[in-house]
């Protein structure tokens, strides 16, 4: 169970990050706190990236499961980065 959870951890971090940035930015836009949006996205992106990097460096065994854990975390890291860019380049709450 622990190995299965560890392999899923990257996806779980991504899901939490995605939920946080979508939920909080929607709330910020609805309640006229637009200037907070880049901060929300930036901070949550940094926290998620740190969690994923830690996950990628944790020791593990056997080789395939370890590879998959790192691979899923790396995919999640790329997705976190890619999804965060929008908050810094598009009009925020228009």
């Amino acid at each position: 169970m622990q190995t299965v959870l560890r392999m899923s951890a990257g996806a779980i971090v991504w899901a939490i990050h995605f939920g946080v940035i979508y939920g909080l930015t929607a709330a910020a836009c609805a309640r006229n706190f637009a200037p907070l949006v880049p901060w929300i996205v930036g901070i949550s992106g940094a926290v998620a990236a740190a969690a994923l990097l830690i996950l990628m460096t944790l020791p593990g065994d056997p080789a395939f499961e370890r590879w998959l854990t790192v691979g899923v975390a790396a995919a999640a890291l790329i997705a976190v980065f890619w999804e965060s860019i929008g908050a810094f380049v598009v009009p925020l709450c228009d």
Partner: protein, 834 residues
């Protein structure tokens, strides 16, 4: 046969062992055949039923295409056309695509992972019968003019009682909600089957890619489908009782439906695609006689697609006026998901490049899949770009895109799979010569039908119009699409003729490994799957272990006969697939069948507002399911049995080793997903209509939630104490104390809201939705606890034979935690924000 001692079980095997195995796994004869639960029979019937719905929905598409072949056509009026496109989309998505891939899992997975059957075969039978009956009645609504008309995504306000009176939309809401429950049952079966019943040695690294894809498919169902179940429940509550979740005049919001529906609806596309990709990843290596290129990356791509697909739902809502920054997250995720799909495409192409390709019908369908799906994927990236999506939203461009994705990504792989695996289930393979015609007609037909739709859409033709004016210039393109649709139909008809001629179901005298494939489903088999359960040492064991097929068929590997005197299979550890214990499997019986029939009747009668007959059917269904459950936990005081290789394994397990524990944990994840969607709905409605929320002073006194929480926690403590008494003294009677505490807790929740009218505002509606859901969970927890107490009373539960109690305990604690979260939201959140 020469004596062999180098295998887990020495050869030759004792006389009568194989005959006993055959006798135990034979399906019932005569009328009792309908109670069959073997995966090979249920799987074939499941695939056949899904194909029936494919044909029926295809016929609806042909009627629509005839209507659109010429401008100002009057073959079909607008009302019927609305029913046709709604039923076409709904049947294709809910009654064909998801059940078809789930059915392929039921049919193939046990043999592919080296199990005798799926771990809960009666659940498979229940899911199949519920789907068959529910689906047929749902389809028949068309002939009575009662079919839904709101499109396959049923957006309110069009589908609310105001704009869609009558019961047409109720058919969709209750019928589809019910069929989704059947899909969830199947998903739980798949997850436990893949993780706990693999052959010894089949580590995760050696697991077939199809098993990986079915595992991810099932996990996605667990998290995605509860959203649509909640959505259908909320819309039905609004239609039946006027609770205004989606009515802006009372603080509701139609977009809440779209959020919930597409949180299910977009992953649904990948729920369909991933198993299809898994099938392709099995077919390509067999057809090239070489292992899959980039196996690890393909598995990673499946996992990445699975989780990224949950970040795409708003790309169906780009035109709804959400903030740009929100759209940007979903645009990015929509583009990112193309990468793992691309990885798989490159892996298949590389496998073709490195192997020697046998150009048979399955290969042709895989080629067709690659071409059509890649084109659909490219237009997918186009519509993921927000400004482009705004231009083509609700036009035929989107129709073209989704058909390229779904036909390319699911239908072609399914045909490839049917041609590829027919020799596994039938005495004869399908005809190669006819297969090439089928492929040719379908491939050309799909492109003739759907490619012009890109242009029709860019020219401005909207979706779901029953006709168009001649001067718009769309007639030539539409005529071409109609000709293409009939070419597809001709291909499918030819396939059906060939199938009727050649398919003769047989597990024991099947055509066998005609492709010289390397995976376990091609072992010699019978109704019992393979004679013995192999020790797996690679991903393609039939290629790498030369005598494996012979030795398995001779009974030289594990569990060559019945170890327990009945049906049984090996349970192995989830990661390393080490043998842990022997699971006694059930025999066929009537309760799952009766349960499924009457569950279907309950939902369908409810659609017609026939409450009393519906309640009677519901009662029969509950009795049948309880009768079924009564036999679930067999005696524990049975001596360990030998499976070969010097291994003596127990035949009973509790806790995380038990398959029931895994099923319950997955069920709790389903419940958590549903409750998470409910919490989201509450927050969403508050966000869009804060004025509907009361001030802190207007809320019920804090004493109510505190007393409710105290009762809930006390009930959990009582259940915990019952666990202790069961371990120490062999009884769980303190469980009886928990029952009134739970009832009191729920009564407290209801009493707190007694002055709140659910029809007055979205706040009242959502708070009452919490009460409904909490009440449902408390009721189920009570039934489970009473069931455990009844088994204790009957002498069927003690300190070792305790799976029934463990399941009740897990569910009880979960219900308490969930209800506390709901209390915090309903009573704490308004105080916090006001």
């Amino acid at each position: 046969m020469h004596a062999r001692a180098d295998l887990p079980n020495p050869l030759p095997r004792p006389a009568g062992e194989l005959e006993e195995l055959k006798r135990l796994w034979n399906p019932p004869r005569g009328l009792r055949f309908v109670t069959v639960i073997n995966n090979n029979y249920i799987g074939v019937m499941y695939v056949g039923t899904a194909f029936l719905f494919f044909v029926l929905a295809g016929i609806l598409a042909l009627v629509m295409r005839v209507q659109l072949a010429a401008p100002a056509n009057d073959l079909v009026g607008p009302q019927l056309y609305n029913q046709l496109f709604t039923m076409h989309g709904t049947v294709m998505m809910f009654l064909f695509a998801v059940p078809a891939v789930e059915a392929m899992g039921v049919l193939l997975l046990p043999n592919m992972v080296g199990a005798r059957d799926l771990p809960f075969p009666r659940l498979s039978a229940y899911a199949f019968w519920a789907y068959l009956i529910g689906g047929l009645v749902f389809f028949a609504s068309l002939f009575a003019g009662l079919a839904p008309t709101g499109g396959w995504f049923m957006n309110p306000p069009l589908t609310t009682g105001t704009y869609s009176p009558g019961i047409n939309e109720d058919f969709w809401l209750l019928g589809i909600g019910f069929i989704e429950i059947s899909a969830i049952a199947g998903a739980i079966e798949m997850i436990v089957g893949v993780l706990r019943t693999r052959a010894p040695g089949m580590t995760l690294a050696r697991m077939p890619v199809f098993a990986w894809s079915m595992l991810i498919f099932a996990v996605m169902i667990v998290f995605a489908f509860p959203a649509v179940i909640l959505a259908t429940a909320l819309l039905e509550l609004e239609r039946a009782f006027g609770w205004p979740f989606f009515d802006p005049a009372k603080g509701g919001d139609p977009l809440l439906w779209q959020h919930l529906f597409w949180f299910f609806g977009h992953p649904e596309v990948y729920i369909i695609f991933l198993p299809a990709a898994g099938m392709v990843s099995m077919i390509v290596p067999a057809m090239t006689r070489t292992p899959l290129a980039g196996h690890r990356f393909v598995v990673l791509a499946l996992v990445a697609t699975g989780f990224l697909s949950f970040g795409l739902w708003v790309h169906h809502m780009f035109a709804t006026g959400l903030p740009h920054v929100s759209l940007s997250f979903f645009q990015a995720a929509s583009m990112a998901v193309a990468i793992p799909s691309g990885i798989q495409v490159f892996a298949w192409i590389a496998t073709f490049a490195k192997g020697k390709v046998a150009v048979k019908t399955p290969t042709l369908f895989v080629f067709g899949f690659l071409g059509i799906f890649v084109l659909g994927g490219l237009t997918g990236v186009m519509v993921a770009v927000v400004p482009f999506d705004w231009q083509v939203h609700d036009t035929y461009f989107v129709v073209a895109h989704l058909h390229y994705v779904l036909i390319g990504g699911m239908v072609f792989p399914l045909f490839a799979a049917i041609y590829y695996w027919t020799p596994y289930s039938s005495r004869h393979a399908l005809s190669e010569r006819v297969g090439r015609w089928v492929f040719g007609l379908m491939f050309v037909g799909v492109n003739v039908a759907f490619f012009p739709m890109h242009v029709t859409g860019l020219a401005g033709m909207p979706r779901r119009v029953y006709t168009y004016a001649p001067e718009l210039g769309w007639d030539g393109l539409n005529l071409a699409s109609t000709i293409g649709a009939f070419m597809i139909a001709a291909g499918v008809a030819l396939f059906l003729v060939d199938f009727a001629r050649r398919f003769r179901m047989s597990a024991e005298a099947n055509a066998g490994n005609v492709w010289d494939a390397g995976t376990l489903e091609w072992l010699p088999s019978g109704n019992y799957s393979s004679r013995s359960i192999p020790l797996v040492a690679s991903r393609e064991p039939l290629w790498d272990q030369p005598n494996l097929a012979h030795d398995v068929a001779a009974g030289g590997y594990f569990l060559p006969g019945s170890a327990t005197g009945g049906r049984d299979t090996l349970i192995t550890s989830p990661v390393h697939a080490r043998p842990q214990w022997v699971l006694r499997m059930p025999m066929p019986g009537w309760p799952p069948l009766v349960g499924a029939w009457f569950t279907a009747a309950f939902f369908l009668l409810l659609t017609f507002k026939l409450v009393i007959p519906a309640a009677a059917c519901g009662a029969v269904a509950i009795i049948a399911i309880l009768r079924w459950a009564w036999s679930l936990d067999p005696p524990a005081d049975v001596a360990p049995v030998s499976i070969g290789g010097g291994l003596r394994l127990p035949v009973y397990a509790t806790g995380p080793r038990s398959q029931a524990w895994w099923a319950m944990v997955i069920l709790m994840l389903v419940a958590a997903s549903l409750y998470g969607c409910l919490l989201f709905s509450y927050l969403y409605l508050w966000l869009v209509s804060p004025a509907a929320w009361p001030s802190a002073a207007a809320l019920p006194g804090i004493g109510y939630p505190l007393a409710t929480a105290a009762c809930l926690l006390a009930s959990s403590a009582a259940v915990g104490y019952a666990d202790r008494t069961l371990r120490r003294h062999g009884h769980c009677y303190p469980l009886a104390v928990a029952l009134p505490l739970a009832v009191a807790a729920f009564a407290g929740s209801v009493a707190a809201q007694r002055r709140l009218d659910p029809g007055e505002s979205s706040y009242g509606a959502i708070v009452h939705a919490f009460l409904v859901v909490d009440g449902w969970f408390v009721a189920v927890a009570l039934v489970l606890a009473l069931f455990a107490l009844a088994r204790q009373r009957a002498g069927l539960l003690d300190r070792t034979r305790r799976v029934t109690f463990d399941n009740a305990r897990l569910f009880w604690h979960y219900t308490v935690a969930q209800t506390l979260a709901g209390l915090g939201m309903v009573h704490g959140f308004p105080r916090l924000v006001s």
